[in-house]
């Protein structure tokens, strides 16, 4: 590819200003690592854009930084996926910041998520229900036996002639 002609198409400007479409961006990012001329032209345009932004800079209203801080504090910290954490620690990044994270994950609409302590409670209730069921069966059988004994005794009493 003729890089000079490619640069003259305005691709660098479109890429930097966010006006390149998906296929143009992909092509640009594919060529960029292999072309020092393209890298230099990109750097030159970026410096011009930064210079323009400097000349047109305007101090934000007082209190803006405080608003940003408040908004950032309101954000829930999201724990990166396990793979990323692992990669981070392998890269010497320590696997993220030492901040306390709140684990957030998407759940299916057909499932609910509950505290792990409920697991113990459910197991206890399940075991107790089984014990009560076994006791109920045991006493029911005992009751039937007792009734049978009473009937037999009653028959024996009935057979004894009255004095």
């Amino acid at each position: 590819m003729n890089i000079e002609k490619y640069i003259e198409t305005g691709i660098i400007e479109a890429y930097v200003m966010g006006l390149a479409d998906h296929s143009e961006r992909r092509e640009f990012e594919r060529i960029l690592p292999t072309s020092p001329d393209l890298q230099q032209a990109l750097l030159n345009f970026e410096l011009k854009i930064e210079g323009l932004a400097m000349r047109h800079s305007s101090p934000p209203p007082p209190g803006t930084w405080e608003l940003i801080q408040d908004r950032i504090r309101e954000l829930p910290a999201i724990r990166p996926p396990a793979k990323e954490r692992q990669a981070g620690s392998q890269n010497g990044n320590g696997g993220g910041t030492p901040e306390e994270f709140i684990s957030i994950q998407a759940i299916s609409s057909t499932h609910i998520k509950i505290h792990k302590h409920w697991k113990t409670a459910f197991i206890t209730v399940f075991i107790l229900s089984k014990i009560f069921l076994a006791l109920a069966i045991y006493f029911f059988v005992e009751y039937r036996h007792a009734q049978k004994d009473i009937r037999q005794l009653q028959e024996q009493v009935d057979k004894v002639p009255a004095k």
């Binding site: 003259e8 198409t9 305005g10 691709i11 660098i12 400007e13 479109a14 890429y15 930097v16 200003m17 966010g18 006006l19 479409d21 640009f28 990012e29 960029l32 990109l42 750097l43 345009f45 970026e46 410096l47 011009k48 854009i49 930064e50 210079g51 323009l52 932004a53 400097m54 047109h56 800079s57 305007s58 101090p59 934000p60 209203p61 803006t64 930084w65 608003l67 940003i68 801080q69 908004r71 950032i72 954000l75 999201i78 990044n93 910041t97 901040e99």
Partner: protein
């Protein structure tokens, strides 16, 4: 002019924590980004809200800047534009037209990109404005002008080259 913040500097800032890194970027680029936001809206309150949204978004996406093909500032500006267009919604074009007779008028009263488009045709300026400031799609703009996509692409690229030529 040398770049104020390189990716290496940003990486070092990120390693000190999210809050210090954002504060560092705000100190370095807050005014530049606020000036950039003012190109999209003349309402100072809206511009401030947009700046807050931009830095809030950046607080959880800083590492993406290190992996981008763009330099730090241009990446920030590119992300800022996406947030501005998303928050302003599909009415961004109409908002640009409100009370405006001159395309070169900007929120802060200063022209920026349009001042560089002086030699572009009125149609090129309009196409650039609709695509860049209002975030409309090329197909939509082509349909409104009753032109085909290659024509819109050509006009856009020519206006971008004019901007580059006039940048110092």
């Amino acid at each position: 002019m040398e770049k104020t913040i390189t990716k290496e500097i940003l990486k070092n800032a990120i390693s000190t924590g999210k809050q210090p890194a954002i504060e560092f970027l705000y100190t370095e680029y807050g005014a530049m980004l606020y000036g950039y936001v003012l190109q999209f809206t003349r309402d100072q309150q809206e511009a401030e809200n947009l700046l807050v949204s931009i830095f809030t978004y950046l607080s959880s996406h800083l590492t993406e800047a290190c992996n981008s093909g763009l330099g730090v500032y241009c990446w920030l500006q590119s992300e800022a534009r996406k947030i501005i267009l998303r928050e302003r919604g599909p009415d961004a074009s109409a908002l640009l037209d409100e009370g405006r007779g001159d395309l070169q008028e900007t929120a802060s009263g200063k022209s920026c990109y349009f001042s560089l488009l002086g030699e572009a045709s009125h149609e090129q300026q309009w196409i650039f404005r609709e695509l860049f400031l209002a975030g409309r799609g090329r197909e939509e703009v082509a349909g409104q002008l009753d032109k085909d996509l290659p024509y819109i692409d050509k006009q856009l690229k020519e206006s971008l080259l004019i901007i580059n030529r006039n940048l110092v």
